[in-house]
């Protein structure tokens, strides 16, 4: 009797663990399939002419440089707008805030903002920035809409980074007579900076890949934006339009690959900073 139970236990264990292994395998396989497919089909497109050239011709033959410029521009601008506000907001939540109605409301609002469907954010940007304030389709309108999307993400990672700073460091600072702001600005923030930077870079990756927000705030015109009031077409938007038109598929594959490489670049940079920081902290 006992050994049969033991047998059953072991069989179930083995089967269940096998299923778990399969789940993990399926996840990695899904990633692998997508990456391999995009790489294999897009690699042929990655010539300097494609990356630095302009699209021309009936079906956007040539290159996608203006979309790359538009993507980098709007991402940089969005990060510039969001990061200071988000970091300071996180400082408040982590260092100054007292549990209460206000803080609960702020957190609820941040969570809500984080789960807004990006197309709703896009329409919001259209209603407020493009039409309401009258910026028209522009980099700045897209950057402002994106910054609402990114705010809760950066707040969350920054808050975690700040909380991860050990308490004794702060006590030491206060023990030396520093004010709160001195402690935060000279001790806590620098200590948390690598983690904060990681969060910011990952958020930038998210911003670069956004489509629904950008299409309603920056438009779809092929243009290499110079002033923030210029419209433009970013890489994700270009990919969507190329895929929908369906005529110049090689360009679509090339755009997809470049976009994935860009996001991968952000991801790996963030990871590298995180690892270097951990190594330095021992």
């Amino acid at each position: 009797m006992q050994s049969r139970e033991r047998m059953d236990k072991r069989i179930t264990n083995g089967v269940a663990l096998g299923v778990i292994w399969l789940a993990a395998l399926a996840t990695v396989a899904a990633l692998g399939t997508i990456l391999v497919y995009v790489i294999v089909n897009g690699i042929g497109q990655l010539t300097p002419a494609f990356i630095f050239g302009w699209p021309h011709g009936v079906n956007m033959e040539g290159g996608i440089w203006p979309t790359i410029q538009a993507t980098l521009y709007v991402t940089a601008l969005a990060m510039l707008i969001t990061t200071p506000i988000a970091v300071l907001a996180a400082v408040y939540l982590a260092e100054y805030a007292v549990q209460g109605r206000l803080v609960s409301t702020i957190r609820f609002a941040a969570d809500s903002l984080a789960s807004v469907p990006s197309i709703v954010m896009g329409l919001f940007g259209l209603a407020l920035f493009v039409e309401g304030i009258g910026m028209g389709f522009s980099v700045i309108a897209a950057a402002l809409a994106l910054s609402f999307l990114l705010l809760p993400i950066i707040v969350r990672t920054t808050e975690e980074a700040i909380r991860a700073v050990p308490k004794y460091i702060r006590w030491g600072s206060y023990g030396l007579g520093a004010s709160k702001w001195q402690t935060v600005s000279r001790i806590v923030l620098p200590s948390a900076m690598p983690r904060i930077t990681t969060g910011v870079i990952l958020a930038a990756g998210r911003a670069a890949g956004e489509t629904a927000v950008v299409i309603y705030t920056m438009g779809t015109m092929i243009n290499a934006p110079v002033s923030p009031l210029d419209p433009g077409r970013t890489m994700p938007v270009h990919l969507m339009l190329m895929a929908q038109e369906g005529i110049n598929m090689p360009a679509a594959y090339g755009t997809a690959l470049l976009l994935v490489l860009m996001v991968l670049g952000f991801n790996l940079t963030a990871r590298y900073i995180g690892r270097r920081n951990r190594r330095m902290q021992g």
Partner: protein, 313 residues
């Protein structure tokens, strides 16, 4: 103590303070500076609240006329979406969004939880270093790339295997499941990791196998976190646009099969917005505000469940 030198009145040698309450030990200048900074940070934090308010205001205002015209009840329960003929019922869209979300969850949640269990309980540290980055990378892939992948690779395969055009619920479920997987897996892994190690040891000490420990001890212990993860995944699934619009087929009806085209709350906006005008455009903003309310409901339900779970102990 540089600030002290700027004191307007002779101040005693100060002891350090950790909150604003000990006013007597700092100079006025420092006090004002600290208070100003605190308020600045509070303002930044309130940007989030302002954001939610602004979205409600602007999207709601633009969408309000359609609710006035058609009536909220009729808008939500009307069974025909045919704006060019003046019919603004989004019930089929709601049903389709729910169907898409449900299937994605059925496929994606077990996969995600399995992966999370793998990462937290089964994998060696080496494997963990391989699989966790894979999950994070999956999270980072833009949704338009997922949609593109679904369009060019999945759709033809499904068309060949199952007939039809390859659009439909089945294809959407596959793509959405992979998209919500990283969300659910990351949160589930966090939840599992926060279960104290002692509980595991106690379980093994009683002779339980790894699986018995996972199934009967750890997963129930992490229940709240897992439910949170699933609800977050639901929110992500119902709000996804770009990936869905490329593989759903976009027919404005409730499909009569899992390989038939359909339209959802999110894809209707993307499909119709380029040309919609007048009432049609207003109706799309109405759909957007409904989507916003739905996503806030998900967030609220997570809070309620977490609070409920904490009370249960």
């Amino acid at each position: 103590m540089a600030d002290n030198k700027q004191a307007q009145a002779p101040e005693p040698d100060v002891t350090p303070y950790a909150s604003d309450s000990s006013l007597s030990t700092i100079s006025k200048a420092t006090y004002f500076k600290e208070a100003a900074l605190r308020n600045l940070f509070l303002l930044c934090a309130c940007v989030a609240v302002a954001g939610v308010g602004l979205i409600f205001l602007f999207v709601g205002l633009k969408g309000w006329p359609i609710f006035e015209k058609v009536g909220v009840w009729q808008f939500l329960t009307g069974a025909t979406w045919y704006p060019t003929k003046g019919s603004f019922g989004i019930l089929p869209l709601i049903v389709n969004s729910l169907l898409a979300m449900a299937g994605a969850l059925v496929l994606g949640a077990p996969l995600a939880i399995g992966t999370a269990v793998f990462l937290s309980e089964v994998a060696s540290p080496r494997l963990r270093e391989l699989v966790r980055p894979a999950v994070e990378l999956l999270a980072g892939i833009p949704s338009v790339v997922y949609g593109f992948f679904g369009l060019v690779l999945l759709r033809p395969i499904i068309a060949r295997l199952f007939g039809g055009l390859g659009f439909g619920l089945f294809t959407v479920w596959l793509i959405l499941a992979v998209m919500i997987l990283p969300t659910i897996a990351a949160l589930t892994e966090d939840a599992l990791r926060s279960v104290p190690e002692g509980i595991r040891e106690a379980s093994y000490a009683m002779g339980a196998t790894k699986w018995q420990t996972i199934w009967r001890v750890l997963l129930p212990a992490a229940k709240i976190g897992i439910i949170d993860a699933i609800i977050l995944g639901m929110g992500r699934a119902i709000g996804e646009t770009m990936a869905v619009v490329m593989v759903a087929g976009n027919a404005r009806v409730i499909p009569d099969g899992i390989f038939k085209p359909f339209l959802t709350l999110t894809t209707v906006i993307v499909m119709d917005m380029p040309y919609a005008s007048g009432d049609h455009r207003t109706a799309l903003f109405g759909v957007a505000i409904i989507l916003f309310i739905i996503s806030m409901l998900f967030v609220a339900s997570i809070r309620v469940i977490s609070r409920f779970g904490k009370e249960m102990g």
